[in-house]
């Protein structure tokens, strides 16, 4: 994996073979992968687990997962039908690796590997899940300015952020999401904030005290909209330069949203950078933290070699201070 990024990815590990468990675990750690395994004996619930994890980078599947020979293939067909965007990496044994799968089954898998050839798996991980490099300074900067914006809007709350991760899924989290174009000479695309409507609305109501009783989803829309605006503004101030604006900056592509299926597409197959923030009320430590997910989709152009921060302007005025002309 690229040494200068700290971005990970989550993979659903459907292996079940305890003999190679430590090998796969070490491999995941080396490749910056966070493995999610179904509880032992709960293999029947795999599709339910898949539905509850909508921000995955891929799936590691053992061909004999579930106990019976090639039972994993049946599961692979079901997973692929439900989540065609997720790359499935199939592990075969040394004995079966030579046997040929049908063309239809072969098309399901991103790669087929054995435990003795993890290098082949690593190369395919680099080509699919880790195909896009997100500069470390950019990721760190995004978390700083987003935490600052959320802290301003959710007062008396601690804002934490988990390790950033790459996602191949195109599933929307929650019911509410904001969408903001980002345009610069080195990147073009969108930022989204996604949240579950009821838990964020409940939080806003609690923070507003007695005024919260009258709040509806419209206040929630406004708060998330302003959070998006503040993050976008800070991002532009720090990273967007319109020097050498090119004609292709006028291009756009349609964004397709199928809300009953919680599906959104920007037309690009590239992995998206995803960060999960949690908002925890200091006065209510027993309340569960409220998650807000942030994704960056640079589907229109991506040139990380040209990434740079804007130079500090000479007359530095703190945000919130009045600069008189």
């Amino acid at each position: 994996m690229n040494a200068h990024t700290v971005v990970v990815s989550k993979v659903l590990v459907l292996d079940g073979d305890e003999i190679h468990a430590d090998t796969l675990k070490s491999f995941c750690e080396e490749c910056n992968l966070i493995g999610i395994k179904p509880p032992l004996g709960d293999e029947a619930q795999v599709m339910a687990i898949l539905r509850s994890n909508v921000d995955l980078g891929g799936i590691f599947l053992y061909e004999n997962f579930g106990g019976a020979i090639l039972q994993g293939l049946t599961l692979a067909r079901e997973i692929h039908a439900a989540r065609p965007e997720l790359p499935i990496f199939l592990r075969r044994t040394e004995h079966t690796a030579a046997s040929v799968l049908s063309d239809r089954d072969m098309a399901i898998f991103r790669c087929i590997y054995t435990i003795d050839n993890l290098q082949h798996l690593r190369e395919n991980l680099d080509a699919s899940i880790f195909s896009r490099v997100y500069p470390n300074d950019l990721v760190r900067g995004i978390t700083e300015l987003t935490r600052a914006a959320l802290a301003m809007l959710f007062r008396d709350c601690d804002i934490d952020v988990e390790t950033p991760y790459l996602v191949k899924d195109r599933i929307i989290y929650g019911e509410v999401f904001t969408l903001m174009p980002i345009e610069s000479s080195w990147c073009r695309g969108y930022m989204m904030l996604q949240a579950a409507e009821q838990i964020v609305l409940d939080l806003i109501r609690r923070l507003a005290g007695k005024d919260g009783e009258l709040m509806t989803f419209r206040e929630l829309n406004s708060v998330l909209g302003e959070a998006t605006n503040m993050v976008w503004g800070a991002f532009k101030n720090r990273y967007v330069s319109l020097e050498n604006v090119r004609a292709e900056l006028l291009t756009q592509v349609p964004i397709i949203i199928n809300h009953p299926r919680s599906y959104i597409s920007f037309g690009s197959d590239d992995p998206q950078l995803c960060l999960k923030y949690t908002v925890q009320e200091r006065n209510q430590p027993t309340n569960p933290p409220v998650p807000i997910f942030q994704r960056f989709v640079f589907n229109l152009s991506w040139s990380p070699d040209e990434f740079k921060e804007n130079p500090t302007i000479e007359e530095f005025v703190e945000s919130g201070e009045l600069e008189l002309f």
Partner: protein
Amino acid sequence: MAQVLVVDDSSTVRDEVCNFLRENGLAVITAVDGADGVNKLKSDPSIKLVLCDVNMPNMDGLTMAEKVRNDLKNSAVNIIMLTTENNPAMKARGKAAGIKGWIVKPFNGTAVIASLKKLVE
């Protein structure tokens, strides 16, 4: 009669700024975008200060400032931009439109209330 007009498409920002100004003794009304802001200024000549966002639908804040000066011929009202933007080119356009100042969000009422009150007097 209002003293201050707060113009922002975000109800969250309008509420925060208005509540703070009212707690500090100022009479405040609001507008949801630049076009609404122009109409509010036309109908209430008592307004002395406008706090205005830049990025808004229908009419942005800088266009609103230009219309206030050129179409309404109102050179007396003090206009302060309250925005996420910190772009020198935008500030230059604002200066050319006769705005009085610029605040980069988030709004820090305590830091600016004394200056804002002077602009209202």
